[in-house]
């Protein structure tokens, strides 16, 4: 473990630096702590097992986000038949309603808009970078971003975004 390095960071340093990003992606996607934990762990297991080579930390962060999204998608797909709203109520994530903090509205969006808005506003990625992470065309990302804003506005009922 000591000799593992990811873009100049050790495995522990990667966890310490990027755990928040991975948690945010998982929680935003699954809206459930228990499910998010599984995907969180799987993301770092994948990092450790595959030990990919990263050119820089930006590449490492983009890889973690991409893997976390994929893990969440796989988790949802695998557990589609077994998920129950009642069972998940205990561990569901609730973002408080706030007029300035729009997190609660963001998680209500469709996943395709949610991912783009999250990466653009929370992770401060550019259009091209989002397109690379999500394997989309930049124009598609622009479209998703525009429509996502409109949908988010319709959810929280105001303007300003």
């Amino acid at each position: 473990m000591a000799d593992m390095s990811f873009a100049g960071l050790s495995y522990e340093q990667v966890i310490a630096k990027y755990n928040q990003t991975v948690v945010a992606v998982c929680v935003m996607r699954l809206k459930n702590w228990a499910d998010a934990e599984d995907c969180f762990q799987n993301t770092f297991i994948s990092l450790y097992k595959n030990s990919p080579t990263f050119s820089d930390e930006a590449h490492l962060k983009a890889w973690l986000i991409r893997v976390a999204i994929n893990e969440c998608n796989s988790y949802i797909r695998k557990n589609k038949k077994f998920l129950s709203f009642d069972d998940r109520k205990d561990t569901s994530v609730d973002f408080p309603y706030d007029t300035s903090d729009m997190s609660w509205a963001l998680v209500e969006l469709e996943p395709k808009y949610r991912d783009v808005l999250y990466l653009y506003y929370c992770e401060k990625y550019k259009i091209d970078e989002i397109a690379e992470i999500l394997s989309h065309n930049p124009n598609t990302v622009k479209t998703l971003l525009k429509r996502g804003r409109e949908k988010l506005k319709s959810i929280y009922g105001g303007d300003g975004i």
Binding site: V23, Y48, P96, L106, Y121, G160
Partner: protein, 307 residues
Amino acid sequence: MNNINFDSLTNIKAPEAWIENALNIPSTVEKKKPLLFFKHSRAIAAVACLVLVSVVSITIYLKHDRLVVPIDPNYTETLASVCNDATDATSDKNETSSNQENTVVLETQPYELIEPTEGGSPNSQKPTQKPIVGPTLPNDPPENTEPSQPQFEVPTEAASHPKPPTPTVAPTVVPQDPTNTQPPIDPPPCIEPSDPSWEVPTVSPTEAPPSPSEPEFGSISFSAQIRTSLVSGDNLVYCSVYDSNNHLIGDSNLYSAQHKAYIIGYSDGKAILSYRLPDGLITEHGTYSYYFYNRYGETLYYNTKTI
């Protein structure tokens, strides 16, 4: 964006337990070791394909080269018939003689497989030989022959003969009753001879074997299998037969029509050669050597045959 933000989402903290578990992943999860195979998978796959193709090619080549085609005992008859047809096509004989030769070949074919030592002198009983006993023999040719039919049909063992009044006896069987006035050998079942004398039995049970000056052997065939590549483009193959004293049997011109052999078929990369020695050229038992050669004199096949 004016006043709104996503702080709740961006500032979300991972529970300590999650981080601890993530830190313990290296001790619990066995790291996947990169295999050399995956790094050079394309090169290895290419080499593997090359090796596979080479092995398969060599295997097929060797298998093809060593394949031996078993010759069915009945195959000799087929070869002889085909060869005889080819001979007829190229010979300059008149039609009548060709018909007679056809008859000879077809009728004598079963007798070639009989050992001469068995049953006395089976060759002396060949119905194909010219009749040596004339009107003194008790049997006359059948009356209902059809002289207008110029050519004999190929005799088949399964065919029944409507004419002979006596039960059919195997041609090689010598009648046990010496007083029997019936000819010892029935003519082949389906033969409709144009010449009535052909129906006359050649040997009576009490008759002595033919004199040595007469031909004891019918036409004898020699066959061989050689690789197709040895056959030249013109497909001209010849065969010469030598006796134990290394004397040439037949025409001294090794490229005459008498020495012409035929390619009667191909089987698994091998050409099947057949040569039929004309009647009467071999009159003694012994070991004969025969050569198949092309028009350039190159020996294609050599073997000996005991007759």
